[in-house]
């Protein structure tokens, strides 16, 4: 058996893939947080709940309407995106003139409601969601066997990150968005409907979270706590990366996932805390975050 620093190579590969998958979720979620924060100036505590909601919608589509994984991958983000739009229109919109801490408290409340309702309706224990037919079974990479679904998650998440980056950096819509982030009033003076842009941005962020949720459904069991477990780590990822750049969020997300995987191999006791330790180090060395503007 091939060993690397005293650990079997296969174990290393296995944990690296797991880390890569976690990293994919970190990247998708922190990307959504960064986009929402850029324009709305609030930290969306409900992001974890929206992630969980995406998984539940996918599950419900299959259970009640017999709609499978592939349509759900499009439908669930759309449904949760519409939900996000409603949330923004009815509640979050009222807070823009206030201290942004109120946004945090409001979305925290929303997260409690969504999570509590899910717990009431479906119980605390998780529900399984089957891996779609086409992605069952292993994939032979030559040096290791990789479950096909896990490979798909990494590819899909990276693809979605890239797509988001392209939309924001390379399209007209994206340039309007970036301009509104810099100076909303000026953009509005140019005739852009900024409030609508803000609403749609929140919806898009919610849809991104739901997309991650659907991807996660077959890996983790669909359960009410799945979002809040992730979101606090994602906050640390956001602090480490800084919310200044889109590409920064993606790199930090994947990087920290891999680091977490490596820690599981070499020092498992610290695997739950390694992200927070990195956060402390970054705060000491570069308080604005790795990619942040001071």
């Amino acid at each position: 058996m091939i060993m690397i620093f005293g650990k079997p190579l296969l174990l290393l590969y296995g944990q690296l893939t797991l880390g890569l998958i976690n990293g994919a979720f970190y990247a998708l979620l922190s990307l959504g947080l960064a986009v929402i924060f850029g324009l709305l100036n609030i930290i969306n505590f409900a992001h974890g709940a929206l992630f969980m909601l995406g998984a539940y919608v996918a599950w419900a589509l299959l259970e009640y309407l017999d709609i499978g994984y592939w349509p759900a991958l499009v439908l669930a983000p759309l449904i949760v995106g519409v939900f996000g739009v409603v949330l923004e229109k009815t509640l979050i919109q009222r807070l823009y003139k206030l201290d942004h801490l109120y946004g945090l408290l409001l979305t925290f409340g929303c997260a409690l409601i969504i999570e509590g309702l899910a717990r009431n309706e479906f119980g605390s224990s998780g529900m399984p969601y089957a891996i779609p037919e086409a992605l069952r079974g292993p994939l032979d990479l030559g040096f290791m066997m990789l479950p096909a679904y896990r490979a798909w998650v990494v590819v899909a998440a990276a693809g979605m990150c890239l797509l988001t980056w392209l939309v924001i950096e390379k399209t007209r819509l994206g340039s309007t968005l970036r301009a509104a982030t810099e100076n909303a009033k000026l953009v509005q003076a140019f005739g852009v409907n900024v409030p609508r842009l803000i609403t749609l941005t929140y919806g898009a962020g919610a849809a991104l979270a739901a997309f991650a949720g659907v991807l996660a459904a077959p890996i983790y069991s669909v359960n009410p706590g799945m979002g809040s477990n992730f979101i606090i780590s994602v906050f640390a990822v956001v602090v480490i990366g800084g919310m200044g750049s889109i590409l920064g969020s993606i790199i930090t997300g994947f990087g920290l996932g891999i680091l977490e995987g490596l820690t599981k191999v070499y020092y498992p006791e610290a695997s739950a805390t390694v992200i927070f330790v990195v956060m402390v180090i970054v705060l000491l060395a570069r308080p604005a975050g790795l990619f942040g503007k001071a």
Partner: protein, 310 residues
């Protein structure tokens, strides 16, 4: 006296009277829970209300206070006051390090950092041997006060808890109305201006943070000895959510708000306990309502109606 305005002095007298009369009407154990959470909420309010810092990780200091007080009372057989004090010092020690890290960023970053650090403490508590993992520390004895006064009866314990609460409450009031407290309020209003006047605002924020975490630890230690148990629930972030909600419902930045909030929410949880997860939903709804329509909280609204600073 102690910088109370007249209205506040009357409020204080009413509060003390209620504390004295209440055990004749309500269960002392319930009241002790209220007082512990009231002190915890007051400690949290010291930061958000008077310095403008929203910590999202106070459960860590509260929970570690719980664990340390329970552990020292059970394994070292320390007397009650020493256990509680050690709980408070643990909170303060942790607060010194975490506060020093967190004040490097402000606003929502401060909130996220304190939350992430608290989550780290939570994971530590799951794994560390002395916390008993999922079981927690159970069957913690109530050692006698000063090694002499027995606290086995709930009423005796109640007077101790009431005393701890009142001391903490007065300490916070003293801090807020000291010259130090005036600087804190200046930082809340306009930090840049406070810096330009020559105050090292980071030092002030740090000291306030440590004081707040000390009191959170005291509150946790007291709660652990009242119930004879310290568990993971006490360090979990949902515990922090509760204390934020208490302060919000009572009124952020008011003197009596956190106390009233603690009473209202503890009572609500008691009555709703049989409905399971509906407690979480109700808490969420109250959060949303408070933020959208009721930002001043109960005491804040009362004060505004009476044109008094309560």
């Amino acid at each position: 006296m102690l910088g109370f305005t007249r209205a506040q002095a009357i409020g204080f007298v009413v509060m003390v009277a209620v504390i004295i009369i209440a055990p004749g009407v309500l269960y002392p154990v319930f009241l002790m829970k209220v007082l512990c959470f009231a002190l915890f909420a007051c400690a949290f309010n010291l930061l958000i209300g008077y310095v403008g810092l929203l910590s999202f990780g106070h459960a860590a200091y509260f929970g570690m206070g719980c664990y340390v007080a329970a552990w020292t009372a059970k394994n070292w057989g320390l007397s009650v006051e020493l256990s509680i004090l050690l709980g408070g010092l643990t909170g303060a020690g942790l607060g010194m390090v975490f506060g020093w890290l967190a004040i490097r960023r402000s606003g929502i970053y401060f909130a996220m950092i304190t939350l992430a650090l608290a989550q780290m403490v939570y994971f530590f508590c799951i794994q560390a041997p002395f916390t008993g993992g999922e079981d927690g520390i159970q069957q913690v004895p109530r050692p006698p006060l000063f090694g002499a006064v027995s606290l086995q009866s709930d009423m005796a314990m109640y007077w101790l808890v009431a005393g701890v609460f009142l001391l903490g409450f007065l300490l916070i009031h003293r801090i807020v109305h000291s010259p130090f407290g005036q600087v804190l309020k200046a930082i809340r209003e306009n930090e840049t201006r406070a810096t330009s006047l020559g105050y090292r605002t980071d030092d002030y924020k740090w000291v306030a943070f440590v004081l707040s975490t000390f009191l959170a630890g005291i509150a946790g230690g007291t709660k652990a000895l009242v119930f004879g148990i310290a568990t993971l629930t006490d360090v979990h972030w949902t515990m922090h959510g509760e204390v934020v909600l208490m302060s919000l419902v009572g009124g952020l930045g008011t003197v009596f708000g956190p106390v009233v909030g603690a009473l209202v929410l503890t009572a609500m949880e008691n009555y709703l306990a049989e409905f399971g997860s509906w407690v979480t939903v109700t808490q969420g709804v109250i959060f949303v309502l408070c933020v959208v329509a009721f930002r001043r909280g109960l005491i804040g609204e009362l004060g505004a109606a009476l044109k008094l600073n309560l």
